[in-house]
């Protein structure tokens, strides 16, 4: 159950995408996400799809695995589609009782759905191909360019990597405590909502206690090794841009220009408006 969550997980395959500098991937993903919001016709979405497909193939991550990540969002996507389909005013093309579907609605709904899917897939490719440690290293570097945040870049990055580091640990812990309470006859699967909520107490209390204990132990361990973040701290692993990163950044600029150009194409594809 908890294992099905694929967003934010790392999937090592050793592909060229995995080997890219995390900063390259963060920049690329940011540019990608921003460009998604400029798209205004299906040519743009087609181009975006091709870019995503190429990156996915290069990353060697099974397509099924990525699609599993979208599954969790099906509800949100469906809701967006349905709302846009019926709520947008314009020329009616079909009616369903008191509701009517408009051509504009169909267009907006399609674009929204595609945008959401591309958004999730694009960002999850970044997390799937970058280990959490690399990701926070990259984030730390990127944060240095944001005013106000700059001063706390290291601390924020450290907090982020600790948080990421503890997600699997706490998930494991939750599963273990759940099993232990199940072994004592606890029932989490049936009953009313109120009784189910009450049944969570035997899980949440041990989980909180262990989370606090772990936090305390980690803080002590860091202190024992004289951890002091921020200024003058050097790193064992220095980030360095290589040829493939430079090449990717050139491709990124080309992507931005290319996607921007698609917004000017006037040849209709799909929708006659």
């Amino acid at each position: 159950m908890l294992k099905d969550v694929t967003i934010g997980q790392y999937y090592p395959t050793g592909s060229v995408i995995h080997k890219l500098d995390p900063r390259t991937k963060i920049l690329f993903t940011t540019a990608f996400v921003v460009m998604l919001f400029f798209l205004n016709n299906l040519w743009g979405y087609l181009a975006t799809f091709l870019i995503l497909a190429t990156i996915t193939l290069l990353s060697k991550i099974p397509v099924g695995y990525i699609i599993r990540g979208i599954k969790g969002l099906v509800l949100i996507i469906m809701l967006t589609v349905v709302l846009n389909l019926f709520m947008t005013p314009g020329t009616t093309i079909a009616t369903l009782g008191p509701l009517s579907v408009t051509l504009e609605g169909l267009k907006v709904a399609t674009y929204m759905a595609l945008r959401l899917i591309f958004l999730v897939v694009g960002t999850s490719i970044m997390t799937l191909t970058t280990s959490p440690i690399d990701l926070t290293d990259g984030m730390e570097w990127c944060m240095r360019f944001i005013p106000f945040v700059r001063r706390y870049a290291h601390e924020l990055a450290m907090m982020m990597s600790i948080a990421l580091r503890f997600i699997p640990t706490l998930m494991e812990e939750t599963e273990r405590i759940m099993k232990a309470q199940k072994a004592r006859g606890a029932n989490f699967e049936t009953g009313s909502i109120i009784s189910r909520a009450k049944n969570l107490i035997p899980i949440l209390i041990p989980l909180f206690i262990s989370a606090f204990r772990r936090a305390d132990e980690l803080a002590t361990a860091m202190e024992a090794r004289c951890y002091r973040g921020g200024e003058n701290r050097t790193r064992m692993k220095q980030l360095a841009f290589e040829f493939r990163d430079h090449a990717s950044l050139v491709l990124m600029v080309m992507m931005i220009v290319g996607l921007y150009l698609t917004t000017m194409i006037n040849i209709p594809l799909g929708f006659p408006i």
């Binding site: 273990r176 232990a180 072994a183 004592r184 006859g185 699967e189 035997p202 041990p206 206690i209």
Partner: protein, 284 residues
């Protein structure tokens, strides 16, 4: 209750790059009223195996029969019933404590069984006594103000209070001091002899296993290596050592003695038996 494990295999995260075959085609039978020890290297599949015995994990293939009944063919409610009969004490069970008082925490299991207040109270008293704690002194304390050893006992009492007919313990003495270990093991042993319940004990201590159990299950990388009496298992020293295990220290001593006294027996794995044998040879 007898437990029959049939061609059991379990694979974690099947179909992902983290796929791991934890158990491979395990078939053994645990007789009613027997005392079984499970030994194996860290990561050999011991914990995975025992979690199948009360249906906490579902096998990838194969099945488990408890008293002849396939536990994975039954309804969910029956599986919950089954857990009342097959009690499982996890590793570091003190991490599962949550109630305000010791009495309430130990009563959690019996309460889930739907027993009456009186019966719960009686069971809680009994099981706290069984693990060697003073009921009146401890019942109103918060489980979190106890010492590590006491917490462990309270957690074990929480499973005993359900009066299971099969009791499975996953390294119940890990991280305890020698006295705590001795006491807890003695209590398990007496529970086994008094109530005739089936006990499955997972342990890393060859000494404990050697002196307590009827049969030892040795597993390595998810496969059964031996399932036999301690007598026979502990003569396979080279195989045990090749999979990262050992025999009790006293057995090593007897082997060395045999080099000097060829008439001495070496299939000995408790200090008491060794003492007897050495005296016999010296006097004899």
């Amino acid at each position: 209750m007898s437990v029959e494990i049939k061609n059991l295999s379990h694979t974690y995260s099947e179909g992902s790059p983290f796929e791991f075959r934890a158990l491979k085609d395990i078939s053994i039978t645990i007789e009613n009223g027997s005392f079984i020890g499970i030994i194996g290297h860290t990561g050999s599949g011991k914990s995975t195996l025992i979690q199948h015995l009360n249906g906490l994990l579902t096998p990838t293939s194969g099945t488990v029969l408890v008293d002849g009944k396939d536990i994975f063919e039954t309804k969910k409610s029956e599986l919950i019933q089954l857990r009342h009969h097959v009690g499982l004490v996890f590793q570091y069970p003190e991490h599962q404590l949550f109630e305000e008082t010791v009495q309430k925490d130990v009563g959690f299991g019996p309460k889930n069984q739907g027993l009456s207040e009186d019966e719960i109270d009686q069971r809680v008293r009994q099981s706290i006594k069984m693990v060697g704690l003073d009921f009146d002194a401890i019942k109103d304390k918060s489980p979190f103000e106890l010492s590590g050893g006491q917490m462990r006992r309270v957690a074990i009492a929480g499973v005993l209070a359900m009066e299971p007919s099969v009791l499975i313990l996953d390294e119940p003495t890990a991280g305890l001091d020698p006295r705590g270990r001795e006491e807890i093991l003695a209590q398990i042993k007496s529970l086994h002899t008094q109530k005739q319940i089936t006990v499955v004990l997972v342990s890393h201590s060859m000494e404990d296993i050697g002196k307590m159990v009827d049969k030892i299950l040795v597993i390595n990388e998810g496969e059964v290596v031996f399932f036999d009496t301690p007598n026979r298992v502990f003569t396979e020293i080279s195989t045990l050592e090749s999979i990262g295990l050992a025999v009790p220290q006293v057995t090593y001593l007897m082997r060395r003695l045999k080099e000097k006294y060829p008439e001495i027996r070496e299939d000995i794995f408790t200090v008491e038996a060794a003492k007897k044998e050495i005296l016999k040879v010296i006097r004899g």
